[in-house]
């Protein structure tokens, strides 16, 4: 420090000024509000209008919801309780309908003493899906994931344990053919044999085998028919089966549509365009009504299975197009580089192309899944007991006739929880897989 200015400057501060908070209008909530809500006259008007709208909606909705009556046997009783508590002209929700019919909304007409089975199946499903969704978990859990569909099927539908076992053996047959027969007979016959052998096994051997095993060692739990399954359980069974099955099928179709092989290409294109070009409702009607005429009389092809197949096919056509979008977004250099590395078609797809293409397609795929899950409510039209069907049926009893919004609010909330979680997971996955720009 020189003393050049010691005489010219009248005052020199020799201590630092105390640090002060920024002005109120320039920090914290006030700043945010000023900048985002009241920055111009137009914004002020829009903000006030929005606030008024929110207040108008909530001031009607919240008291109605919060005053709700949770314990009553019928709508009339609900109204009597409300009159007693709040007086006759006050609106109050009658949540009692959900309390009373809770089990029915969740499980449909599933036998009440067996509720533990679908609950256990749901827990097992969560355990099975966890290692697929989150990479941090031990890889050994994937073995259980492969096994879980059969366990879950057995828990929900019950019956002899040997049925699911016999069906599972079909996959073992397919695996064995690939493993041991393909090296002997060559690749193309090997692929054909891998597809045909399990089908032949399922059609001809599986049923007698299951019967035989049941005779030798009768093991089973009370069977429950598909017609008893309803409510959110039905929505989940159809939705989850559709989601799990349609992804691989959709990827295969997308690859098929890109293929140079004439037959595979045309079959894929025809399939996708036909399925996509017709509304889901029509396919559901086909599943429930038309198939009855085609199948030989007396065949009892489970309606739920038919619906799952239709929903799967429908969703897979959409998935195929979404994945095709991902494939098209990859630069051609990726394909050529994979070829240059000497990888064959399946390996290049598995190691290079699909991981990138699927990552690009995540939002689209999850979008399709969310749509599929919500579309499960359409099965109401063919008389299956999805939550909306049960809402109708509950409303049709003399006790609850006249209850309207409560059921819709509840069902809507449940669907929101499921769909919102799927959307959040997709965001999580996208963030985790973001490789380029970080």
């Amino acid at each position: 420090m020189s003393d050049t200015h010691a005489q010219t400057a009248a005052f020199v501060r020799d201590s630092m000024i105390q640090q002060q908070d920024p002005p109120v209008s320039q920090s914290g909530a006030v700043k945010w509000v000023r900048e985002n809500l009241f920055s111009s006259w137009l914004n002020i008007i829009l903000t006030l209008a929005s606030l008024w709208f929110i207040w108008a909606a909530l001031s009607h909705l919240l008291p109605w919801m919060l005053r709700g009556i949770w314990q009553a046997d019928s709508l009339a009783q609900c109204r009597a309780i409300r009159d007693e508590l709040y007086g006759p002209d006050v609106s109050a929700a009658c949540w009692a309908v959900i309390t009373e019919r809770w089990n029915q909304l969740l499980f449909g007409f599933y036998p009440q003493d067996l509720y533990w089975r679908p609950v256990l199946a749901f827990v097992l499903f969560l355990v099975a899906i966890a290692p697929v969704l989150f990479q941090g978990l031990p890889k050994k859990m994937l073995g259980f994931s492969l096994l879980s569909p059969f366990v879950i099927f057995w828990l929900i539908w019950g019956g002899s344990i040997w049925g699911p076992v016999a069906i599972a053996l079909g996959f073992v047959v397919g695996w064995a053919v690939t493993r041991y027969l393909t090296p002997v007979i060559g690749v193309l016959p090997g692929v054909i044999a891998t597809i045909l052998a399990p089908i032949v096994y399922w059609l001809l051997v599986a049923a007698p085998l299951a019967g035989l095993l049941q005779d030798i060692l009768p093991l089973g739990i009370t069977p429950v028919g598909s017609k008893d399954i309803g409510g959110f359980m039905l929505a989940l069974v159809i939705g989850v089966s559709g989601i799990v099955l349609s992804l691989p099928l959709g990827i295969l179709l997308a690859l098929g549509r890109q293929s140079d092989m004439f037959l595979i290409n045309k079959v894929s294109v025809t399939f996708i365009e036909t399925i996509r070009g017709v509304p889901l409702i029509v396919w559901l009607f086909t599943a429930s009504l038309l198939l009855n005429y085609f199948l030989p009389p007396g065949t009892n092809f489970d309606l739920m299975l038919r619906v799952i197949i239709m929903v799967t096919l429908f969703a897979s056509a959409y998935i195929a197009e979404v994945v095709r979008g991902g494939l098209a977004a990859l630069p051609k250099g990726q394909y050529e580089a994979a070829g240059a590395l000497g990888l064959d078609y399946w390996n290049s797809m598995r190691l290079i192309i699909l991981p990138q293409a699927l990552k690009i397609s995540i939002p689209g795929i999850v979008n399709t899944f969310i749509g599929l899950f919500k579309d499960t409510t359409l099965v109401m039209i063919i008389g299956m007991m999805d939550p909306l069907f049960l809402a109708n049926a509950i409303r049709a009893t003399t006790d609850w006739n006249g209850v309207y919004w409560e059921l819709f609010v509840f069902i809507g909330l449940c669907f929101f929880v499921f769909c919102f979680s799927m959307g959040r997971y997709s965001l999580f996955l996208e963030k985790k897989l973001r490789r380029e720009h970080r």
Binding site: F109, L289, L290, N292, Y293, G383, R395, A396, T397, T398
Partner: protein, 340 residues
């Protein structure tokens, strides 16, 4: 479009094939041990599952009566909920053995769709409900009204006919379900709600202030609702028809679920009751059922009057009076042919 036509043609081809093949339903039901009965997916008083999943209602009671007559067990029924769209194909394809889903007996359904209506279990008719505050006392004063109407039903056509004949104008508010109609009507989206009178009564009963709404006296259509079976299996049709007749006749002869045990043990003074309950004659064997068929059917839920009172009668929230559905001896239309 072309596809729709093809599908339609296939459906028609299937219908005729199934119609020809679907004989001997009675044997099928006996072999299966359960009756597959098509009911509504939910209609207050007529068909709805209770909290335990057990179906209850006026139409349901008929299914139970048939099951009791054929199998001896009123609970041996597999209820298949059918919608307005699926009900006829479900019956034609053999998925259900009979349909008891408040279906109006019309010419084209009977003849063209190849079904057989075996009787009428409820005589209904289309009516109008309006708020009392409108001060209207007759449907003829409804000129210019907005009307809530379920689309795709016969009520829609009846409404158009009625207003045209009386030279009135109206504005339809199309709605899909009865529950939706209740909301629209209460919210004031329409001045008038029109549907079957039984439905109007059930709807009005759910209102907070039923007294503020009136059902106008005009009934503008005939809606005979009844059970139906497939064409081409008259034996099965006879079983369902005479089960319904047995319930009606039981009321006429004073046979109730309370006194039936006593009446059916020994032959009494009234030969008609004796033949009905199988203590005399061979009526059951003629139907291919055992002698106690009608007794079982009546014991399932009581005679017609008991079923009516339990599900939709004046002491229920639905509160329908017998009206046209009284016995012929009391000025109604119920008239069971003689059991002879």
């Amino acid at each position: 479009m072309k596809r729709t036509v093809t599908l339609g043609a296939l459906a028609v081809a299937g219908l005729t094939a199934a119609g020809a093949a679907g004989a001997a339903t009675l044997d099928d039901v006996k072999a299966r041990g359960t009756l597959n009965c098509g009911v509504a997916t939910g209609l207050p008083g007529f068909a709805a599952p209770d909290a335990n999943g057990v179906w209850q209602g006026f139409d349901v009671a008929l299914c139970r009566a048939v099951a009791a007559a054929v199998l001896g067990d009123p609970m041996a029924v597999e209820f298949v909920p059918t919608t307005g769209q699926t009900r006829f194909t479900a019956l034609a394809s053999g998925e259900i053995d009979m349909l008891a889903r408040n279906t109006t007996w019309t010419f084209s359904r009977d003849v063209d769709l190849k079904f057989e209506f075996v009787g009428v279990n409820y005589y209904d008719g289309q009516g109008f409900m309006i708020p009392k505050a409108l001060g209207v006392s007759s449907a003829k004063e409804l000129d210019g009204a907005t009307v809530c109407i379920q689309t795709g039903t016969t009520t829609e056509l009846n409404l158009a006919d009625f207003f045209r004949v009386n030279n009135l104008s109206y504005e339809p508010v199309p709605i899909e379900t009865n529950a939706e109609a209740q909301q629209q009507y209460l919210a004031g989206a329409c001045d008038v709600y029109t549907t079957d009178a039984s439905g109007l009564a059930a709807t009005r009963a759910t209102f907070e202030a039923p007294g503020d709404h009136v059902i106008l006296p005009e009934i503008i259509s005939k809606e005979p609702l009844g059970p139906l079976v497939r064409h081409g299996d008259s034996e099965w049709g006879d079983v369902v028809r005479w089960t319904l007749n047995a319930l009606v006749a039981a009321e006429e002869y004073g046979v109730t679920s309370a006194n039936i045990g006593e009446l059916s043990t020994t032959a009494g003074d009234n030969p008609e009751i004796n033949r009905l309950l199988g203590t005399e004659g061979e009526l059951g064997a003629m139907l291919g059922l055992d002698a106690a068929w009608a007794k079982n059917a009546i014991m399932a839920g009581g005679n017609y009057a008991e079923v009516f009172e339990k599900n939709i009668g004046e002491n229920t929230p639905i509160g329908l009076s017998r009206g046209l559905n009284a016995q012929w001896t009391e000025g109604g239309l119920l008239y069971a042919p003689p059991f002879r």
